[in-house]
Amino acid sequence: MACQGLQKGETLASLKTESDGLKKKLEVERGKLNDVELHQVAEKTEVLGALSIKTRRVLKGHGAKVLCMDWCKDKRRLVSSSQVRTSTDLWTREHGVSLPCTWVMACAYAPSGCAVACGGLDNKCSVIPLSLDKDENLAAKKKSVAMHTNYVSGCTFTNSDMQMLTSSGDGTCALWDVESGQLLQSFHGHTADVLSLDLAPSETGNTFVSGGCDRKANVWDMRSGQNIQSFESHESDINCVKYYPSGDAFASASDDATCRFYDLRADREVAVYQKDSIVFGASTVDFSLSGRLLFAGYNDYTINAWDVLKGNRVSILFGHENRVSRVKLSPDGTAICSASWDNTLRIWA
């Protein structure tokens, strides 16, 4: 029997024993440092007062479920996408410029504000330069950058317009050079569709987190492609992952109706945001500027605001008439935008 690649004394069985042993070791090591719960430490923090957040704008104009949105750094423009089209909206004027991109599940503004990336069921992620000229033929300028072998679920530019990170139903994430379309790095480790990714805040270095249908959240080194940390505590698909503003932690939203909070330096889950009355999946999360509040959108049409430190729900935002697909904080922290299957976007402040 040909046994290429086996080290001396190594068998499939011995490797299995070793990996089981390492998994146990990981549990033990993590357990040693679990000396207190986050909400216990947070007992000395002041309780939050009632929030005065309500809908300030409703943006209509999409004729179909809005699946994704992103803010421009100018804090006033948004890009949003539905099953039918992608458009950029100036929320103050509520008029949109339609972009030639359909079946979009993910969209993102370039840091310069001069282009938009969108991707989805075409298995690609394309970049469209924006123009002030309404008659400009944007379809001609649309450029394919990323090519996956299944749908693109998430995309984000890195720190410049030059590189883009994507997550895909093909189980991988990838880093692309926008100009040439070249694949710079691919990230393998998830064993099912990757549904979301988020880049670490720039001060904390070159890492990003991804979450998927294998119930795992993985943290990656962008340069080496290495999976540096992995968290598996959700009981169902992870729909969204988002870094805490300091970069030392991240939150996740899952079909198991909970959101969870993981500290990267302690290497473990440190909070679960759940209630018996919340039985529908959470699809999206974002933090407020200080990281004290976590806004989460659910399939029961609501947005819940959680006290990140104490673990209790502070507020429920009602208004959408169908599932909330995305919530995102504006760049200056003054508002939250939500996208929904009710064909609208709402701005809350």
Partner: protein, 68 residues
């Protein structure tokens, strides 16, 4: 050969777990203290937490003045 694939996968898993098991960790008490400290430091400048006056919040409508 599928046996070699299984072995390759198994070895990859062992290597991955070695990396994960070997990282340096801090106690939750320290991590929690740092998270709290970050929140406290930035609380005052968090508009959704403290609320900003209508005149300063671009998203809140200023009430129009009606001249009788």
């Amino acid at each position: 050969m599928s046996t070699n694939n299984n072995i390759a996968q198994a070895r990859k898993l062992v290597e991955q777990l070695r990396i994960e098991a070997g990282i340096e960790r801090i106690k939750v008490s320290k991590a929690a203290a740092d998270l709290m400290s970050y929140c406290e430091q930035h609380a005052r400048s968090d508009p959704l937490l403290v609320g900003v006056p209508t005149s300063e919040n671009p998203f809140k409508d200023k009430k129009p003045c009606i001249i009788l």
